[in-house]
């Protein structure tokens, strides 16, 4: 069994965004199960909002959230805001920053609340209405984009046994009628004239409007399974077995789709502590962990080169996952960031620089191969400053540091 530091680091990697140095001190000597409970008990952050209103909004908004996510006290709630953003997303490539922030506040409000409430809110959110073309859709000639993706991507997963093209078309009619006023207010309004006036059959239910349709989606047994599976993957790093997935879905369903009990069930599971290093870090996780390791504010624009800028997903499915983060392109970019910024790091402990830098990185289980590379490096440079720069840069580019 790994030592407590390794387990604490694992818990922090999955329930927050990495191993903030203050967290290591905070949980010194605590049993891993207690670390989990303490993190679950922490209140949500209530950060001051971003300063929007200038030409820089498109970069200010992602930078602002990265700063919040990088805080020592960023915890389970913040992690869940990020999870929902990766699952039910909209993006700056099509929606302005003010509306993206408005959507973000919905995610903050419901992150550990009720999934049905979250999905109801998102269905008529201005950013979402722009992102998936709901605004302007009429029941007579509906736009199918939101109806398809709310099922395929957000709530049910692609499954021919669950819904078909007729459901997409029927859902599109039910979701019609919501408009975002194109003037500066960007207020969402309901236009009865373009909405459905009768009813349609959707997922086996009779629905008359968007609220009915979201309820039909949430009432479908596949919804709880889909969300449970996605969340288990994000937190535990692998797909749960069919049996385990059924258990988690039952917990989620029985709670009325409350998110908190589902999170608790996943991370309190006996196997959670064993699922270490079983998936790659996403680029956001890697960059925030690098901030913790280097203890400097590493600009969010580097994330463009790593393919994951918050608020700016590449497409309606959010970001690609897992093995697709492992690429030559990301490898080169990590070398660049580490090279550019390792010179700003703290000087390492003179007696044992290797243990010092690994602890700062939250790495307590490191392969012999990696130790050997780092040990060789110690002999390669002369000054303490250069040694600190080198070890920080190499640890940042080690395989272990790229694992969640």
């Amino acid at each position: 069994m790994a030592n407590d530091n390794a387990l604490t680091s694992h818990v922090l990697r999955r329930l927050t965004f990495g191993m903030h140095p203050e967290r290591l001190a905070q949980f010194e000597g605590a049993a891993p199960a207690d670390v989990i409970e303490q993190l679950l008990a922490e209140p949500a952050l209530e950060p001051a909002g971003p300063e929007l209103g200038s030409d820089d909004d498109y970069s200010q908004l992602p930078e602002w959230w990265l700063r919040v996510m990088s805080r020592a006290d960023a915890g389970v709630h913040e992690r869940m805001v990020w999870f929902w953003h990766t699952l039910i997303t909209s993006g700056l490539s099509k929606v302005n920053p003010a509306l993206m922030y408005r959507q973000h506040k919905l995610l903050r409000e419901h992150a550990l609340g009720n999934f049905r409430d979250l999905l109801q809110a998102m269905a008529v959110d201005a950013a979402m209405l722009y992102w998936l073309d709901g605004s302007g859709s009429t029941a007579e000639e509906p736009n199918e984009n939101f109806a398809r993706e709310v099922m395929e991507l957000f709530a049910l997963g692609r499954n021919e046994d669950v819904y078909d093209e007729a459901d997409v078309r029927a859902g599109a009619k039910a979701f019609a009628g919501w408009w975002v006023d194109g003037d500066n207010s960007d207020e969402v309004r309901f236009d009865p004239d373009s909405a459905l006036t009768s009813s349609v059959q959707f997922l086996g239910a009779t629905v008359r409007n968007a609220e009915d349709a979201i309820n039909a989606i949430c009432d479908h047994p596949q919804c709880a399974r889909h969300i449970a599976g996605r969340l288990a993957h994000a937190l535990a790093g692998s797909e749960p077995s069919e049996d385990r997935l059924s258990e988690l879905a039952a917990i989620f369903t029985d709670s009325g789709l409350e998110v908190r009990p589902l999170v608790e069930a996943i991370v309190r599971d006996i196997g959670f502590l064993d699922q270490r290093r079983n998936r790659p870090r996403s680029s956001v996780e890697w960059l925030i962990s690098l901030r913790h390791l280097f203890n400097v504010e590493i600009e969010g624009y580097y994330l463009d080169g790593l393919g994951q800028t918050p608020f700016d997903p590449p497409n309606v499915a959010g970001w690609p996952g897992d093995n697709r983060w492992v690429s030559a392109g990301n490898d080169l970019t990590k070398a660049q960031i580490a090279s550019d910024r390792a010179g700003d790091t703290a000087t390492l402990d003179e007696a044992d620089p290797l243990s010092d830098v690994l602890a700062r990185a939250g790495l307590f289980e490191v392969s012999d191969a990696t130790i050997s590379v780092l040990t060789d490096a110690i002999d390669a440079v002369e000054s303490r400053r250069d040694l600190s720069t080198l070890l920080h840069a190499l640890v940042a580019c080690s395989p272990e540091f790229s694992l969640a």
Partner: protein
Amino acid sequence: MPASVSRRELLKWASAGAGAAAVGGATWMVGRSDADHMAPNPRATSTSSSGTNAPRTTAVAPAAIAAVGDLSQRLLVVVEMGGGNDGMSTLVPYGMSGYYDLRQRTAVSETDVLPLDDQVGFHANLANIHRRGAAVLQGVGSSTPDGSHFEMMARWWSGDPVNSRSFDTGFLGRLADAIGDPAAAAVAVSVGSSSHPALLSKKVGTLAIPNADAIGYVVGAADDDTLRQAFQRGFAAFGEGAGGGAPGGFEELLRAVRAQTVQFAGTVGEFGEEGDGGYPDDSFGQGLRLAAQLLSVDLGVRIVHVPMNQDFDTHDDHSGRHPDLMKALDTSLEALFVDLEARGLSDRVLVMTTSEFGRTARDNASAGLDHGTASVAMLMGPVNAGLYGEHPSLTDLDENSDLVATVGFDQYYATVADGWFGVPASDVLNSTPEALTGVFRTA
């Protein structure tokens, strides 16, 4: 260490790869240029000006090129138009009955068509492609189409038009396996940060890279720069050890990719070319430039996959958005062909386009087009320009009122595999689809 780049340079650098970065390619970006980011609502500012007033070209068509006879010299650039490109706004069936009835809000006017015959013609914004000539495949799609981007992309990437789960490799990866050198660092490259499913291979290396700018960070430190040398040595050494992770796990993958990255960087070195190379300074233009660079040096790279990273998913305001996409395609490809001529590669490089599906036959109330079925595909380079396959009927539609594909995309793939590379279709596809004949121009 190299001097830090300024923020502006970095953003420029990043934008060249960011789109692909995020998607590894193949998805439908939603308008990603810097200009878009400055506008409060990019869509509100998009115009169709570039579409409707483009002059008809009067330039003389360049002399047709015959393909190099040595099959081992042949190269491929794959342009992916993620999001679902509307075939009927690319190759406009302006003379076919039904077109202007189906497209009440989004039809391309006959005055904006560059005719190929009395039935169909290129959108006016494809003037360069029209002038150079392309082999245009009509009605390319699946016999069992699906409305999901992800299902259809998975089928296109893997190479099976009816089942996304037939293969654990990608079509381009298998093609690379069939033609490539296992000793090369990479036989196929996707321009982007994320590894790409279409390039999954078994025998040869394939990789994803957004640009070559960061290569100098991992190879080539000056002799007197001991710090940088030590970093590069250690960076490479991480790819050599066996590591402590489970076999087949991500740690092993990370080490394998590291070894490949370093080998690739060492072979490429630095291209050392300044400026924009005559290409548009966006991710697609610069991606094509990287493709030309990779293909022009002797690295063993035979296939480069370049996602266009612009939003073809035109659910709304189609006529305001699609002409700009055609313009972007045409302008960047023209820069590529000019560059290939300068590099002496014109007889060696085939360009093919892909897109997961076309769009609905009929437009919606948002003056847009939802997910459809068949679309057009284009082959450019040493080809016999003209129309191939039969255009789907616009009056005899399928049960969802969409186009019925006349050419399976496996036939399209077979045409490239067999006709261009001499690889039997059955080696890379799970059936023996009939390749189209007469497509390539030979000496």
